[in-house]
Symmetry: C2
Subunit: 742 residues, 2 copies
C-alpha cells in the first residue's frame, strides 16, 4: 500500500502475472496498422507511431522471393513473379522504382496441366552480381528454367534468356541456393560481412576494379526435375568450360532440400547447407538430417577418375539438439556471421533456424549456432564409406587428413577412388554449446538474417532478425547467458509463406520480400523510448540514453557516455541522474451508475507486469473490479466505485504509469447504453450488463418537495386557526398575500 | 425455441460444447469419497452411491504389491511389506482377514547405510502356487532376497525361508516377473482365461489331482544385484537340478527392466516382456526398446555347448507406433487375453501400456495390442547376429526355421553355436493394426488388466481396466472402431506409485493393491443407470435394460431381450417402449435483485453436452446469464430475470433434465449477502457483485405523501382565500374542523 501521485487511499491490485516465460516474450510489440494509400506502384509508410515501415507494393509485383542489395546499399534488386526490379532504397522517405525487366513465361498448356500449375509463371530464383556491371538471373520459367544477364544500371538484357539445366529449380516451390565467386571478382581476404544464403545476398565489400563481362563462377545447389527429386550441386561459367557436377546420386540423397550456401574466402571453399535422408542412421522410420557440404573453388575435377566431377565434395551432419532430447533436425534457413576479428576466420558462425520432423513438446522451432572451426574439424577427421555389397558403413581413417582437402584434383587415382567412396564424415558437427540458442513453442520461424553490432561500451553483440510464419519480425539480441527479444514487429496481417530477408548494415535497414511486395524496416527506432529507464530496459545495442539531450538516440560509434546496459537492462545504475518516466494525460470517462466500463491499458512490452491502482471513496470489495483479457480493466460503476484509476506497468522495480482514467458518473436515466467502452475491439468478450434504475435522486427531490409542501401546509393551517380565532398576524397576512398571488 | 414442460416462453442457450475429444473423456466419473471408519484391520465400504468400493486397510499392511487369487476366487493372497496375507473376498459385504504370515527382515545397519534405505524391509515380490496346496513366496528381505514355501490353507511355513539369488530383486523398487509352470501341475491344454503377468495371477482352471510337494518349475526374470543392473532370466526347481540361465550378459542388455511374463500352453513356451537398450539401432542417442523374449519349457540346456543355459532363448522388438510418428517405446505393464475361440490360440492377444522416452505431443501413454501369431512369425523368421569384431549386425537366414524352435537342446553343436550368436529377430513385431488402440494426453497409465465379456447379443468384447497415476481406475470397452471409456472411478485421493491389479472374471471383481491396502471394485454397477436411455448410453457390455422390470441389470448370459447397444449406445432403437428419463425435483432459490446466483449443475458424464433453458417474463439479453466453469450457470437477478431454469444434458439427441431451479426474489434491502450460492465449492471463481440499493418503493411512498400533502395544501389555500373574501363554505368549515383536531 504505497502513496502514489498524491492519492491517500490507494488499493493495489496485483493481477496474475502474465506469461512471463522468457522463451518467446518480446519486450516491445508493434502491431500491424494497414496503410490507407493502396495505389499502384505506391510507396507508403505504415506501422505504429513507434515503428514506421516503408512498403513497395505494386499489383504486378508479386512473390518477391529474391532480394539483392547493391554494394553501396542504395539499390535493391528484386526478383519476383515474371519480373526483375531495381528499387532506389537510399531515400529515407520512400522506396522508388528505378528499372523493371519484364520476363514473362508464355502461357503453356502443358505446364498448366501439371499438378503444380500455380507455378506456371517465371519465378526469379537467382539474382547475383556476375561482375560489377552485370547481374545474373535465373527463373523457373514455367518448369523450363531460363537464365539471363542484365546490366546493373538499367536492367537491359545483355545476354538473351536461354534454357538451362541445373541452375535453378523447375518447380518454383522447391528451395535452391546459388552464389557467384570469382578470383577476379572478389578479394580472397575481403571482409564478407554477412554473406548470401538461401539465394539472399546481403552485404559484400567488393573490389573497385571493373572487369566487364568477365564472369564470376556460379555455384548452385538445386533440384533438377519436374518433381524436385533430383538434387544437383554444380559449378557453371568455369574456366575452360570445366564445369563440375556431383559424381553420382548417392552423394546427395534423392529428395534433398537445399537451404543455403556460403563462400569461405579463408578456406577457398563454398559450403552448401541442406537436408536429406540420414541413411547412415538406422532408426524406426526415415530420419532426416541437416548437412553441410563443402566444395573447393580451385577444384577442376580429376583427370581419369572423377572427370568433370567434384574431387573436393564432402558432407557432414549438423546437430541442433539438447542433451538427451530429440534433435531439431530440419534446417529452415541459415545465415553466416563473420568472426568479430577478421584475423581468426575460424570463429565465423552460422546461425540456423531448425524445426523437427516430429511434433515436439519442447517447441516448434529452434536456433542453433555452428562454428566454422567445428565444421573444419569434422571435414579433416575420419570418413565413413558405404559398402554397397553389404549395405553397411565402414570407417575410413583419414591419414594425413587428405580427405576433405582442397587440391585433390591433382591427386593419384588411388586417392581419388578413395574420395569417390568416402564423402561422409564420421564426426557430427555439434551446435555451439551442444544446445539450442533459443527454442520457441509458439513461433514457427521461417527466415533468418543477422548482424554484429557494437554496444556503447564497445562489446560486440549479435542481432538475429527472425521472420515468423505468423507475419512478425523478431529482433533478438544474443546475450552472454541467453537472449532477449527486443522487438516483435508485425509486418503482415496474415501469414505470408514466400519470404526473403536481408539486412543492410551500413544503412541500418532490414528488407523483407513477400508475396505482396517489399518492406523496409529500420533496424531500430530509439526515439520510441521516451525515458532513460525505457531506453535502457529495451536492451537494444543500437540505442542509448543521452543525459544531456534527454533522448534515447541511435549509436553509430562506441560511446561510453551513453546510458546503456544490453546485458541486463539495469536502468537503476544507468539512469541515476535521469528522471525515469513521463507524465501521462488523464482521460475523463463519463459513465452511468451500474454500468460496466472497460478501461483499456495496453502495455507495449510483454515482459512488463501490469497492475491497476485506484482511489476509493469508501472501502469496496475488490471483486467489483474485473480484469479482462490482456491488461484492460472492466469496472462496474456504483456510487462506491473509485473515481481515479491508474494503469501501472512494472519491470525490474520501474513503475511506469501507462494511463490514468477519471470516472465521472452521469446524471441518471439519460442513457440506455449498457456498456460504455473506450476501445470497441477489446470489448468482444466483455461482460455487458444492464444498468438497473436507481431512484435515489428522484426520491430526494420528491422528499424535499414533500417537506416543503408540509411546511407550507403547517404554516397555512396555523394561520387559518389564528385568523379564525383573532386578528391576522403579520406572518399570516404575508401568507395570504402569497396565496392571492398564486 | 421449443415448448418444453409447459413453458410458453423458453429460451435455449446452447453453450460451447465441452471438451468432447473422445480420447480421454469417460462417460461416467465417480469421485473419491473417503470412508469414516478407519479402525485397524477394518473392512469398509467407500465410494459414491453409484460405486461402492470395498477396502481392506490395516496399519501394518503396506505396499501390497503382489496379489494372487485362489482358483475358486474366494481367497486373495496378498504380498505386502514384511507380510503375506490371505483374505476372504467371497462375501459381498466385506473383505476379512483369514491368515497372516509375518516375515520381517531384521534391522540391518548395512542395509540402512545404502542409498535405497527406504527399501530395507522384506517386500514380497513373488506369490505363486507351487502346487495345489502350497504357495511359493519370494521377498527382497532388505537387499538379501529370501524365498519360502507356505501352506495355502493356513499360511504356515512348509519350507523355512532361505537366501536365494536370481528369484526376485535385491532392490524392492526394481521390477521383476515370475510364474510357475509344471506338467504335473497344469493341463497342457487347459483354458488359461487371463494369465499372470507382472507377478499378477488372474484366474486359472487347475487340474483336480493333488500331488503334494511336487513343485512346478519357477520361471523368473529379475535384476540380480544391489543396483538393479544385472538382468537374469532363469528357471528353478527343474527336474534333476537342471536349472537354466542366460548364457551371457549380451542376451539381455545391462539395465533392462522386466515387466511381465506369460505361459503359452499351445507353444510350450514362456514369454518374458521387458525393455532394454535397442543396440541394433543407431540413432542420435540411446534408444530404449520393448522386447518379448521366449524360452521353451522343455529346454534342458545343451550337452557341450550351452550347458545349463537356455537353448531356446530368442528376443524380438515390440513396436507400439503410429505411422511416421515417434514410437511409444517404454512398456509399463502388459496382460494376456486368450483367444475367444480356444481352438485358435494364435489369436491370443497381449495388451500393453506404453509411454515414451521423449515428451511427445501425441500423449503421455498409449495402449497397443500384439497378436501371438505375429510374435510366432517373428521368432520363426530370420535372425540378426552381432559380429563383435566389427561391432555390426549381420542377417542370419533361418533355414527350415530352426532358430526359435523348441527342442534344440538335443541339436548339434553347430546349431547350438548358431543359437548362441543369433537370438535377435530381424523382423519387429508390429502392434495390431500398426497403431495404438488408444493414446492419452492427460493420463499416465501404470497398470493394466483385461477380460473378454459377452454382450447381450452374443458378441465378444474386450474390457480393459487401466490404473492411472492420478489414482483412477478406467474401465474401457474396445469397439469395432475405437474405444469407449465406460467409467472412471477414483480409488485414491492422492497418486499411489506402488500398484497391482487383477480381475476375477467368475466373481466379477477387480482387485487393486496399493501402498495402503487392497481395494475391491465390482466390474459394474448397472443399477446406477436409472433409465433405459442411460443404461444403453453407458455402452457397458455388463449392463442391459430389462423392459419388464424397468431396471438396468447385470448380464450373466446372452440375452437378446435386454436393451443394449455396446457398439453405438443407440438408445433410440433400443428404448422404443421405455420412458427415457426420470422426474427431477424443483429447487427454489431465494435471491435479491442485483445479486449473483450460482445454479449448480453437474453432469455425471463428460460426453454429454449441458445446456440451460429458462423462461422469461420479458425479452432480456442473454448476456445477463454467464456460464461459469463446468456446467454451472451464474445468473444476475434483476426484475427482468427469468424465474425458472432447467439444466438439460444432451447426448445423441437424448435430453435429460438434470436440475430445475425457481428463482424467488426477496423483498429488498433485507440482506447484505452479495452472492447467493447453492454450492460453495463451485463458487471459488465466481463473480460476486454487491446489490445496489434501489429506492423505488421509498420514492413511491414519498411521492404519494407529497401528492396528498399538496392536495391538502391546495384545499387549505382555497379555503383561506374564500374565508378572507366572504363567508366560509361548507368544505372550508370541514377543513377548519380537521385543522382544529390536528
Amino acid at each position: 500500500m504505497t502513496s502514489v501521485n498524491g492519492f491517500c487511499n490507494i488499493c493495489v491490485l496485483l493481477f496474475g502475472i502474465l506469461h512471463l516465460s522468457k522463451t518467446i516474450t518480446p519486450r516491445t510489440s508493434f502491431l500491424f496498422e494497414p496503410s490507407l494509400d493502396c495505389s499502384s506502384h505506391a510507396f507508403h509508410q505504415t506501422g505504429t507511431p513507434g515503428r514506421v515501415l516503408s512498403r513497395f507494393n505494386a499489383s504486378d509485383v508479386q512473390n518477391t522471393t529474391t532480394l539483392l542489395l547493391s554494394p553501396d546499399a542504395a539499390t535493391l534488386f528484386v526478383g519476383g513473379r515474371d519480373t526483375v526490379l531495381s528499387l532506389d532504397v537510399s531515400q529515407s522517405d520512400g522506396i522508388t522504382l528505378k528499372n523493371k525487366f519484364d520476363w514473362e513465361a508464355p502461357k503453356n498448356p502443358e505446364c498448366n496441366s501439371l499438378a503444380f500449375n500455380q507455378n506456371c509463371a517465371n519465378f526469379i530464383r537467382i539474382l547475383q552480381f556476375i561482375n560489377s556491371t552485370h547481374l545474373y538471373a535465373c527463373g523457373s520459367w514455367a518448369f523450363k528454367p531460363q537464365y539471363t544477364i542484365l546490366t546493373v544500371d538499367s536492367l537491359k538484357v545483355s545476354k538473351k534468356p536461354e534454357h538451362v539445366k541445373g541452375h535453378c529449380p523447375y518447380n518454383a516451390s522447391e528451395r535452391s541456393t546459388a552464389l557467384v565467386v570469382g578470383e577476379d571478382l572478389w578479394d580472397a581476404d575481403c571482409t564478407v560481412s554477412v554473406h548470401n544464403l538461401g539465394g539472399i545476398l546481403l552485404h559484400i565489400n567488393r573490389r573497385e576494379k571493373h572487369t566487364t563481362f568477365l564472369y564470376g563462377k556460379l555455384y548452385t545447389a538445386t533440384t533438377n526435375d519436374y518433381f524436385g527429386k533430383t538434387p544437383v550441386i554444380s559449378r557453371y561459367f568455369s574456366d575452360d568450360k570445366n564445369d563440375l557436377q556431383l559424381s553420382d546420386n548417392s552423394r546427395v540423397q534423392k529428395g534433398a532440400t537445399f537451404i543455403g550456401s556460403s563462400y569461405i574466402p579463408s578456406e577457398g571453399k563454398v559450403l552448401f547447407f541442406f537436408r536429406e535422408a540420414g541413411t547412415e542412421y538406422n532408426f524406426m522410420n526415415k530420419f532426416t538430417v541437416t548437412r553441410v557440404a563443402q566444395v573447393c573453388i580451385d577444384d577442376n575435377g580429376g583427370e581419369r577418375v572423377l572427370q568433370k566431377r567434384w574431387t573436393s565434395f564432402a558432407k557432414s551432419h549438423l546437430v541442433c539438439q539438447a542433451q538427451e532430447q530429440l534433435p531439431f533436425n530440419l534446417l529452415q534457413d541459415i545465415v553466416m556471421v563473420p568472426a568479430a576479428d577478421a584475423k581468426s576466420p575460424d570463429n565465423t558462425l552460422f546461425y540456423g533456424i531448425f524445426t523437427s520432423q516430429w511434433a515436439l513438446t519442447s517447441g516448434q522451432s529452434a536456433v542453433c549456432a555452428f562454428r566454422l572451426a567445428d565444421i573444419k574439424a569434422a571435414f579433416s577427421a575420419n570418413y565413413k564409406t558405404y559398402i554397397v555389397e553389404t549395405g553397411e558403413w565402414k570407417v575410413q581413417r583419414n591419414r594425413d587428413a587428405i580427405l576433405g582437402k582442397c587440391g585433390l584434383h591433382n591427386a593419384s587415382d588411388h586417392i581419388l577412388n578413395l574420395v569417390k567412396k568416402s564423402f561422409l564424415t564420421v564426426n557430427n558437427i555439434q551446435a555451439v554449446g551442444h544446445k539450442q540458442l533459443l527454442t520457441s513453442k509458439e513461433e514457427l520461424y521461417s527466415r533468418i538474417t543477422a548482424q554484429r553490432v557494437q554496444a556503447a561500451n564497445g562489446r560486440m553483440y549479435t542481432i538475429l532478425y527472425l521472420l515468423t510464419e505468423s507475419g512478425f519480425l523478431h529482433k533478438i539480441v544474443l546475450l552472454k547467458d541467453g537472449y532477449h527479444i527486443i522487438e516483435a514487429i508485425q509486418l503482415f496481417k496474415s501469414p505470408q509463406t514466400i519470404k526473403s530477408i536481408l539486412v543492410s548494415i551500413t544503412k541500418g535497414m532490414v528488407f523483407v520480400g513477400s508475396s505482396e511486395g517489399v518492406i523496409r524496416v529500420p533496424v531500430s527506432n530509439c526515439s520510441f523510448y521516451s525515458s532513460c529507464a525505457e531506453c535502457v530496459l529495451a536492451q537494444d545495442p543500437f540505442c542509448g540514453w543521452n543525459s544531456q539531450s534527454k533522448k534515447c538516440i541511435q549509436l553509430y560509434n562506441v560511446n561510453p557516455n551513453l546510458c546503456q546496459d544490453v546485458e541486463n537492462g539495469n536502468f537503476t545504475d544507468q539512469c541515476k541522474d535521469s528522471e525515469s518516466g513521463t507524465l501521462v494525460p488523464r482521460k475523463v470517462i463519463h459513465a452511468h451508475h451500474y454500468e460496466w466500463v472497460m478501461l483499456p491499458c495496453a502495455s507495449s512490452s510483454g515482459l512488463e507486469r501490469v497492475s491497476w491502482r485506484f482511489s476509493n471513496h469508501s472501502i469496496v470489495p475488490q471483486s467489483h473490479y474485473l480484469q479482462q483479457q490482456k491488461d484492460n480493466l472492466l469496472v462496474l460503476v456504483t456510487p462506491n466505485t473509485a473515481v481515479e484509476f491508474h494503469c501501472v506497468s512494472e519491470k525490474q522495480g520501474l513503475q511506469r504509469t501507462l494511463a490514468v482514467f477519471s470516472l465521472k458518473p452521469h446524471s441518471l436515466g439519460s442513457s440506455n447504453h449498457s456498456v460504455h467502452s473506450l476501445d470497441e475491439d477489446t470489448l468482444n468478450s466483455s461482460l455487458p450488463l444492464t444498468q438497473p434504475k436507481n431512484y435515489y435522486v428522484e426520491m430526494v427531490v420528491v422528499s424535499f418537495l414533500l417537506v416543503l409542501c408540509m411546511c407550507v401546509l403547517a404554516v397555512s393551517i396555523f394561520c387559518v386557526q389564528r385568523q379564525s380565532r383573532s386578528t391576522a398576524s403579520p406572518e399570516c397576512n404575508e401568507l395570504s398575500r402569497i396565496s392571492s398571488a398564486s
